[in-house]
Amino acid sequence: MSMDYVLLVPLLPALAFAVLTPMPRTVRLKLVPLAVGAVFGSLVLSIAAFLAVWPGGQQLEPAWHGVVTIAHIGDRAISLGLALEPMSAVMLLVVTIVGAAVQVYSLGYMHREERIGWYYAALSLFTAAMLVLVLSNDFLGLFMAWEVMGLCSYLLIGFWHEQEAPRLASIKAFLTTKVGDLGFMLALAVIYAEVGVFDFATVLGHDWSAGTATFVALLMLFGAMGKSAQFPLHTWLPDAMAGPTPASALIHAATMVAAGVFLIVRAFPIFEASGIALTVTLWVGLGTALLSGLLAMVQHDIKKVLAYSTISQLGFMFIALGAGSPTVALYHLVTHAYFKSLLFLGAGVIIHAAHTQDMRQMGGLARKLPVTSLTFAAGSLALAGVVPFSGFWSKDEILAVLLHEQQYAAFAIALAAAFVTAFYVARLWFRVFTAPTQQAELHEGHRSMVAPMVVLAAITAVIGFFGPTLGGFLGHGIPWPAFGTAAVSTFAAAAGIMLGWYVYGRRKSVVNTQVIKQRFPHAYGVLVNKYYFDLTYGYFIVGGYTALARGLASLDANVVDGIVNGAARTWRSLAALGWAFDRRVIDGVVNGSASAVRAAGARMRTLQTGSVRGYQTLVAGAVVLFVIWILVKGA
């Protein structure tokens, strides 16, 4: 059976985008079902593709692949290819399931928006790009899809662009990720110079010297850090929460931000050839996981808690990569995609119901939003790492890999990050769902919003039991958790939750957090100021560049152009001087030829007045003279 239908998986949403975008707003609005239908089409085809690859394993030949040469340059050709193999099959399911859930959810969440048609168009383009990214069989195609996703992220963050915050957040997201993308782009240049093509098989099979491998891997890592919001390129992601919540669920939680991790998984042999790059990846991940987790503890905006949590969880995936296990990183990517998008969708219902994102104004939502609170609980427990929810299994594997690699310091930091995770999850949960009710009129979300959450919650509850199956499918073993690590990580999670409950959850004697803030003002100050990253970047980079640009603009107008104008003025004065010299000196001395000189002077004067006709005559004259001279010489 021909498997060319795989091509339709990204093509359907791309077509939805192409149909919706040129339409006027009112028509677009009616075409929204088309976009939803497209993503469901992709979902069905992805399931078919997945089954076609089943049972997977370490296959060398992809189940399907297609390649098109887009450029011939000298004796080289640049091609873009797509390939279906176990890893892309798994990712197709992740992207289309979360994508379909988000699109259905958005029908309810965005139904009051006048520009919902545009929202769906952008969402469709994003889905198409992400599907191309996971199917890409070469680094160039991956990069191109990566950049288009960046555009969609920009468009969706800035969806409410009439307000200033989304507008600024969108440009910040685009530029910050673009900083990382420079690394990715230069990595492509090095690959091209070194290998001459971009396809995975050739590039990864290349005999990389350790030095070049380190160079390429670090450039790619930089790109991945931008996309996956790792320290110190993380500051765009919390701001990106200014976009519509379902878009955040898809792009800024489940899929696009994971693309950095996915890139490193794809390029892993280069990282292995380097060695150093793995160590750097590990420590970037460790730093991000812990530091970002700490920031999640002090946020009051429910979406920002989830955003910092996403950064932290992506850090966990980087840890797995750095420890040498791309399969485990991918495993956590998959579980995280489901439970974090679930949490975001839950947050959307909560925000709709409470009309605020500030958790201090929420409370007691458990009784008012029964389904949401249950599904949110599943997501929270998965995030905190409580058995049997999905996050427990994949996070446990990460810890196990660190132990296995005897990275004890890293293990300790990751465990601390896991503890912090459990704490901020508990803080969020108790504040939102069990704290005293502050609002009377609260309603559960519309069916179209609740149904996708139920599906995602179900996946989150059971997917952990399929870890070893997934490992087999990918061709690398994912073992069942060892009792020791499972016990330690469960203890960390339980401790975090208990502490969260102690501070925020008890009915009668809630701890006065004001006291903690007053006792540790410096630590608290550092956290609420987000380690001063935003301030530093804003002041030195944005401010510095703006000042530099203004300085250069003024230099350009006054000095560079000033020299030009000065030269023109000088020439004019010289010409005037020559004219005066003509008239007074030569004219006085050589009376006989006075008339001839005067004529010459008159000609000179046309020069200084800047009359263009004069110059044209001059040039035309010069050309004519030149031609005559040649004729004479030739004859």
Binding site: R25, A71, I73, G74, I78, A189, A549, V612
Partner: protein
């Protein structure tokens, strides 16, 4: 049937220009119809040649007639993939400029006549394979552009027009010296014959310098660029489009057609210097663009930055770099053309180009706003659109070449800075709530949309399938590199 197609393509607009001028303002309606017809015919002929073009052959449609045999001067026109790319740009943008300025009320006969005369010069430059012919067309271009700026321009039009004219003339005087020197050395004016003549390297060195001044002003390369913002700001929309879209490319075309093949040893010696200036142009242009408060000036400085990528590609002297250079030339032509058209369309409605006074286009005039955003993303080099192709290939070529890595990295940063000034422009102009100036303006008319649609299609087409452009440029690039001795 063996029509002298290239001659027709070059001189048909001249016939049109004279006719339109003779008809005068009294019969300007007929005049502009003739102008449109002539430019359509020209474009159709160019399109026909594009389809007939044999990518495996070198120069095609060649016309070579003795002109002044005593001096080995020939009337020599020829077309390779690079010339074709540029002539497509010139013919297309001329037609679109005529359509876009359809409603010109001030002295319309002269206006359309000058646009056609400009096309004569532009087509001629890209098709002439004889130095005298090349030089005549090169200088011819100045005349209509001078009048377009000086007669239909903004408040400081006289200053800008004279500056444009003199600055370019200043450069071309050096070019003339170079041409004469080459003639005296080789005894021919034929550009193709001169290639690979194996001239003495030290002679090459200073002749390269002379041509460099001529071409660098036109491109323009930092620090010879300051005529450009003035000319752009004062020029009427159609003139800005053609100035940025086509005239700048004459400079880089000169490097590719003349400097590299004829003076390969010098080119190798000059390459690091050119790469450095290219990198500086990229970053400097981008930074200065970022600080602008006038939309047109911003786009003008962005041209300095983009043309830097052309020069970077040229300096690399690799297949990737040269293809990238021509790809940027083409893409910058259509994308910056789009941006200037849009700025002009917005200006026609709001009567301001001050960025701070225009905002919220996408809410009030979604078609204009959407296309503005599209052009901006094409300009900042989004993959999948044409801007990416050339810049990426230039960087690939530069990285693989002898250019010091530092300059390549500086250039790559230009990609980020382009996103910064372009998005910052979109942020203020396209997004946000409508400003007073935008409050009650109509969206684009059908005629205006028709001007932009071909450019949008080309931007996507080239960006997705690179070979749609590179299949023409690559053979030309190969032959340039072959003439350089396989460098």
């Amino acid at each position: 049937m063996n029509l002298p197609l290239l001659t027709i393509i070059v001189f048909l607009p001249l016939l049109g220009a004279v006719t339109v001028a003779l008809l005068g303002n009294a019969r300007a309606t007929a005049g502009r119809a003739i102008a449109a017809t002539v430019s359509v015919v020209d474009l159709v002929l160019v399109a026909w040649m594009t389809m007939r073009f044999d990518v495996s052959a070198g120069m095609q449609f060649v016309e070579k007639v003795a002109w002044v045999p005593q001096a080995n001067m020939t009337y020599h026109l020829g077309l390779d993939g690079m010339s074709l790319t540029m002539v497509v740009l010139s013919a297309l943008l001329t037609l679109l400029a005529i359509v876009a300025s359809w409603k010109t009320g001030k002295n319309p006969a002269l206006w359309f006549s000058m646009l056609l005369l400009l096309e004569v010069g532009m087509n001629g430059v890209f098709l002439a394979m004889d130095f005298v012919l090349f030089y005549v067309f090169w200088e011819l271009v100045l005349v209509p552009m001078y009048f377009l700026i000086a007669m239909w321009g903004g408040p400081r039009r006289q200053y800008a027009a004279v500056k444009f004219f003199l600055y370019t003339l200043f450069g071309s005087v050096f070019m003339l010296v170079g041409i004469i020197a080459l003639y005296l050395q080789t005894g021919t004016f034929d550009i193709l014959e001169m290639a690979g003549a194996g001239l003495d390297p030290s002679f090459q060195w200073w002749v390269f310098g002379a041509f460099f001044l001529g071409f660098a002003v036109k491109v323009p390369i930092f620090p010879l660029h300051t005529w450009l913002p003035d000319a752009h700001v004062e020029a009427p929309t159609a003139a800005s489009v053609l100035l940025a879209g086509v005239l700048l490319k004459m400079g880089s075309y000169g490097f590719l057609r003349i400097s590299l093949p004829i003076l390969p040893d010098a080119a190798a010696e000059w390459s690091t210097f050119i790469a450095a200036l290219a990198a500086i142009s990229i970053v400097y242009g981008a930074a200065v663009a970022f600080a602008q408060t006038d939309m047109k000036k911003l786009v003008a400085y962005s041209s300095v930055s983009h043309m830097g990528f052309v020069m970077l590609g040229i300096a690399s002297m690799t297949p990737e770099g040269l293809n990238g250079a021509v790809a940027v030339m083409f893409s910058h032509g259509i994308v910056t053309g789009m941006l200037f058209f849009l700025v002009g369309m917005v200006y026609d409605r709001t009567h301001t180009r001050v960025i701070a006074e225009v905002s919220g286009l996408s809410s009030k005039v979604p078609i204009a706003g959407g296309l503005f955003a599209f052009a901006s993303f094409a300009s900042l080099g989004l993959p999948g659109l044409s801007g990416f192709v050339g810049e990426f290939l230039s960087l690939l070529g530069a990285w693989a070449s002898d250019i010091p890595v530092g300059w390549v990295i500086v250039s790559a940063i230009g990609v980020l800075l382009a996103a910064a000034y372009m998005l910052w422009l979109v942020q203020r102009v396209v997004l946000g709530s409508p400003s007073a100036a935008v409050e009650s303006i109509p969206d684009l008319s059908t005629r205006e949309v028709l001007v932009l649609v071909p450019l949008v299609m080309l931007t996507i087409g080239v960006g997705v399938y690179w070979d749609s452009l590179l299949r023409f440029t690559d053979p030309a690039v190969r032959s340039i590199l072959a003439m350089m001795g396989g460098a």
